[in-house]
């Protein structure tokens, strides 16, 4: 892993340490409550077909349904450019992924990587996972995609 991404992970983990479990829960809930995707036309053009969506409305509906899935894995990281904090909610069964920009407080994108496993391996040294365990949210810095 390149040093920049290790540094970003450490900085993100430090930021999470300052957040209570309740604050993380509020953030996750805010993401799961997202209803709309900005720049919908563009994201639909890029990813509508891979979601089996014939219309923009179908694509956005798939986005909302994805966010309602109970078994999503929740990751967060700092984007190198501007160190904006991002969140990604990933369905481990399908690879479908919703992105959320914490700084903008808005959903960002919804897509499925062609090879979800390769993509997630690529991020293992960069992202931090947050997991709900024994009643509270905790950060997991040394997560692995294959569990």
């Amino acid at each position: 892993m390149e040093p920049l991404y290790i540094e970003l992970r450490l900085e993100r983990a430090a930021g999470l340490r300052r957040l209570s479990s309740e604050a993380i829960a509020e953030m996750v809930q805010a993401i799961r409550s997202a209803k709309r995707l900005p720049r919908l036309g563009y994201h639909f053009a890029q990813h509508g077909a891979e979601m089996g969506a014939a219309r923009e409305e179908d694509y956005e509906q798939a986005f909302r349904e994805h966010l309602s899935q109970p078994r999503l894995r929740v990751f967060t990281y700092l984007r190198p450019r501007g160190r904006a904090p991002f969140w990604e909610l990933v369905d481990p069964a399908t690879g479908r992924t919703a992105l959320y920009n914490e700084r903008e407080r808005d959903a960002w994108s919804f897509f499925t990587p062609t090879n979800a496993q390769a993509r997630d391996h690529n991020t293992e040294g960069w992202w931090v996972e947050v997991v709900f365990r024994e009643g509270s949210w905790e950060r997991e810095e040394q997560w692995r995609w294959d569990v």
């Binding site: 984007r79 992105l99 897509f111 062609t114 090879n115 993509r119 690529n122 991020t123």
Partner: protein, 113 residues
């Protein structure tokens, strides 16, 4: 993940870049946000697989056209680079688009291989 046919890899690579090209003129400000790191990883992963594939002449021409779009929009790619793969030599220029000295294909017939 099952094996993906070369034609499908190429179709997805062309699609990403074709949509990017089509929307870039109307995007307005914040153009660097047209891709995120997950999409850039996808594009570069597809390009890796295409580099390993045996392409027909028609597919080779299509790949060159798509590569030209990748280079045209390199600022957007470079701004959203994911961690570099350990096995990314400079010949795989698409993984080095955020570097000044590399990140474009060498001249000559093999430039897009």
């Amino acid at each position: 993940m099952g094996r993906i046919e070369t034609a499908e890899l190429l179709r997805k690579y062309e699609h990403y870049l074709g949509v990017l090209e089509g929307w870039a003129q109307t995007w307005g400000g914040g153009q660097l946000d047209m891709l995120h790191s997950g999409e850039v990883f996808d594009i570069l992963w597809l390009r890796d697989r295409l580099a390993e594939a045996r392409l027909s002449e028609t597919q080779g021409r299509a790949l060159r056209r798509a590569d030209e779009l990748l280079i045209k929009h390199r600022a957007i790619v470079a701004a959203n680079m994911p961690p570099r793969q350990e096995e990314s030599p400079e010949s795989r220029w698409w993984w080095h688009m955020d570097e000044d000295s590399v990140g474009t294909p060498r001249s000559g017939a093999a430039q897009f291989s």
